[in-house]
């Protein structure tokens, strides 16, 4: 069972509140949900919508055909009518005129009734959230206005909802982050807000820097003193930070960078999604120095991999980049899994204040004094290379890739980051392959740098048995494909690329996968 319900209206009307209320109730009721958020770059007006996907099994994507539309304005039905299934329902805002700010609560109530969920759960949630008579009465009015359509039965799943943003913040908190620095930029801003809200609870300091160049240089200054530090930004801000990344490479001061990408170049399409910044994550910054680039694919991985990023940065004095995007950062995922055990991040180095400690952006001798001689220049370059080899060895401890589905199937899908959950949903609907019986397997690349040697083996295995190897990415040039080719010499023959600023829908992806002969 799977439903896709669109909730649309103008920015500022509170469509997120509807999906939030319904989402919470559904999860309590034992259902898996996935909430996609679509909004243009404006504060009031325009057309925003969420699509809430509901299922009795794990779900991490939306479909293109809608089972229902909830409207908060006249425009919504005009824009989305063509996506509504024949038997689909519409909850019209016109029915609830005069409710003012409580319109969204009435619409949430109406939707709960259509789904066939008990009114008690609705009222309980509204009481928890608002606890005023007008809101409760609006919820009752909404509930009474509809007929039950789906009759959902209560399930026993224990489910949590989390966005990628919340999970990155959680991973940082788990690593005992001391300081987060950022300059506001969508879609990375969520982590700034999230950690700012947690400042008092966890004693984390949040600093909004004058610009991204300031943020990254301040981060290195702070980390030098033994403070566990992360900076966050999106593509344009990351461009500005690259001088600091290079400085990190020379100074070897631990640094964690959160990069949440959106479609570029330039200002691009700022509130939409893209996987086009893998190239700059891999190579931004002049000179040659080691780094780790990790791309989690869902909130649970965001928690785990952020922790690994902190661990590696501190252990090796290296640069750890966590690569996400708008779709992963701002969508709300449900999960019945819990993250791995937390890795302790220990600061085990000499600190200023206790002894004389020096770090430099210049090439330097072992005491960090400036040198320019050829011998030291050469051996320092080699030492940086050696460090990368040591990082690779350490990574044997961690999951650099994951393989889903039937391990013996010959067809191989390769993807990374936010495409993970939609690929899983698409394959599941093809032939239950996620249940390990189908004709496809999915290789999720998590460590983009270093790249796992297993990737090459998997591709060769699939090709030898006559299987199809298919690359899925949210960009126009297939950046992971190029990365794999650079590393292995293998050109992946089939590519499914989407670069319209939107994430894949699972039904469309399924069609595209099946179209590859």
């Amino acid at each position: 069972m799977k439903l896709n319900i669109l909730i649309g209206g103008k920015a500022g009307q509170g469509i997120n509140k509807i999906s939030e209320i319904v989402n919470k109730i559904l999860v309590e009721y034992g259902y898996f949900t996935f909430n996609y958020r679509d909004y243009p770059s404006l504060i009031r007006g325009g057309h925003n919508f969420n699509i809430l996907s509901v299922s009795d099994e794990r779900v991490g994507s939306i479909e293109s055909q809608l089972d229902g539309i909830v409207t908060m304005d006249e425009n919504t039905i005009k824009v989305h009518k063509s996506e509504l299934k024949k038997e689909g329902f519409v909850i019209d805002f016109e029915k609830f005129k005069g409710l003012g700010r409580n319109l969204n609560i009435a619409l949430a109530g109406a939707l709960i009734k259509i789904l066939g969920i008990d009114e008690k759960l609705l009222i309980g949630e509204i009481k928890k959230e608002f606890n005023n008579p007008e809101s409760i009465s609006a919820a009752e009015k909404g509930f009474a206005s509809q007929k039950e359509k789906f009759n959902l039965k209560k399930l026993n799943n224990k489910i949590n909802i989390m966005s990628g943003t919340q999970a990155i913040a959680q991973g940082a908190i788990n690593s005992k982050i001391d300081l987060y620095l950022a300059y506001p930029m969508t879609p990375a801003t969520g982590v700034l807000h999230e950690l700012a809200g947690l400042q008092k609870k966890y004693g984390v300091e949040v600093f909004q820097s004058e610009n991204e160049v300031g943020a990254v240089n301040q981060a290195l200054g702070a980390s030098f003193t033994g403070t566990k530090t992360m900076v966050g930004t999106s593509g344009g801000g990351f461009d500005l930070m690259t001088e600091g990344l290079s400085f990190q490479g020379m100074s070897e001061i631990p640094l964690v960078v959160y990069l949440a990408s959106r479609p570029g170049p330039g200002t691009g399409v700022p509130t939409y999604t893209s996987q086009a910044d893998l190239d700059i994550a891999l190579s931004g910054g002049h000179g040659e120095f080691p780094r780790v680039v990790i791309a989690p694919g869902d909130p649970i991985e965001c928690i785990e991999k952020t922790n690994e990023a902190f661990y590696l940065a501190e252990k090796f004095g290296c640069l750890s980049i966590i690569l996400s995007d708008k779709h992963l950062a701002e969508s709300e995922f449900s999960s019945d899994r819990s993250p791995n055990k937390i890795l302790a991040v220990n600061v085990d180095r000499k600190l200023p204040g206790q002894e004389i400690v020096k770090r430099s952006s210049y090439e330097h001798d072992k005491n960090w004094n400036t040198i320019e001689d050829s011998e030291t220049t050469k051996s320092n370059a080699e030492n940086r290379l050696k460090k990368y080899e040591n990082i690779k060895k350490e990574l044997k401890k961690f999951q650099m890739i994951k393989i889903f589905g039937n391990k013996n199937s010959k067809n191989l899908i390769i993807g990374w980051g936010s495409t993970k959950t939609v690929i899983l949903d698409a394959l599941d609907s093809i032939d239950n392959s996620i249940k390990k019986t189908g004709n496809y397997k999915f290789l999720q690349v998590i460590y983009m740098k270093p790249l796992s040697d297993e990737i090459e083996k998997e591709i060769i295995k699939s090709q030898k048995t006559g299987g199809k190897v298919i690359l899925v990415e949210n960009n126009v040039t297939g950046q992971l494909g190029r990365r794999i080719r650079e590393k292995t010499g293998i050109k992946i023959p089939n590519r499914i690329l989407k670069y319209d600023g939107r994430a894949f829908n699972s039904d469309e992806l399924k069609k595209e996968i099946l179209n590859i002969k």
Binding site: D178, L179, L181, E205, F207, S209, E210, N211, V213, G214, N217, Q218, A219, L220, G221, A222, S223, F224, T225, G226, T227, T229, E243, G244, F247, S251, I253, L351, P352, G353, Q354, E355, I356, V357, K358, R359, S360, S361, Y362, W368, N369, T370
Partner: protein
């Protein structure tokens, strides 16, 4: 602590007779006179002749990127507020490349000291004009003469609500050391503009000693504004007040 404890064995690569030797001595005396421990300090430096001081001071510190000394210093304060941070930077780094960090650091008013070696040119890159070079300055990058008027850093600092602004003459080691000591003791962000000759580039602006006169420590903002206007950085006319040009009485933060 003795000023000599702050020396290192690194070979000094400044030009013979460079005023940076004198600034280095003033800094050592100020630090030794501060009553603090050697490990209480952390310095940040920029890229430029001034910033070679990183190698010559036996203190914790970061030899940062061009224009970013102040930002790196702010970061150290965020990381460990107990450290006494001295951020060294030149006029090019502070008033061109890193001007945003300077203005915001004054606004943040963390307890740190910004020391600007102002010789009115980019010297380590062979003499191009900076934001404080005089109009008409002929250099390899401005053969027809610099087109633009210079910025007055003292006025900029006042407009940025700096809580401590001083100007000193690099050649006057004793006075500079005393003013630096006051800057270090100031609870807030202190800014010390060091007027420094370069013996190789923009020599037209050298030898302003006769224009300089010492003032008593000033705590009045109107007076500070008048003092700031006495010299426009553009000519060798007018008088150049040196000393503590402004210190806020009621300390913020």
């Amino acid at each position: 602590m003795n000023p000599k404890d702050l020396s290192t064995k690194e070979p000094i690569t400044w030009c013979p007779g460079c005023l940076n030797y004198m600034i280095l001595e003033s800094v050592k005396r100020a630090i030794a006179g501060s009553g603090l421990k050697q490990t209480d300090f952390a310095i940040t430096t920029d890229i430029g002749c001034n910033s070679k001081i990183y190698d010559y001071l036996n203190l914790s510190g970061i030899y940062g990127l061009h224009g970013r000394s102040v930002a790196t210093g702010v970061g150290i304060k965020l990381g460990n507020p107990k450290l006494k941070v001295l951020s060294f930077i030149g006029d090019g780094g502070n008033y061109n490349e890193g001007i945003a960090h300077f203005i915001h650091a004054l606004r943040y008013n963390f307890d740190m000291t910004i020391i600007v070696h102002d010789n009115q040119s980019f010297s380590l890159t062979t003499g191009q004009p900076t934001a404080t070079s005089q109009q008409g300055y002929v250099s390899k990058a401005s053969p027809q003469g610099e087109k633009f008027k210079p910025l007055n850093p003292i006025k900029l600092a006042l407009a940025s609500n700096a809580t401590f602004i001083a100007r000193v003459n690099a050649r006057d080691i004793n006075h500079t050391a005393k003013v630096l000591e006051k800057a270090i003791k100031h609870k807030g962000c202190s800014f010390v503009e060091v007027i420094q000759d370069c013996l190789i580039f923009n020599k037209d602006m050298n030898n302003k000693d006769k224009m300089m006169y010492k003032i008593k420590d000033n705590k009045n903002k109107q007076v500070a504004e008048k003092l700031a206007n006495e010299w426009d950085y553009n000519s060798k006319k007018g008088r150049i007040p040196i000393g503590v040009l402004y210190q806020e009485q009621e300390l913020r933060r």
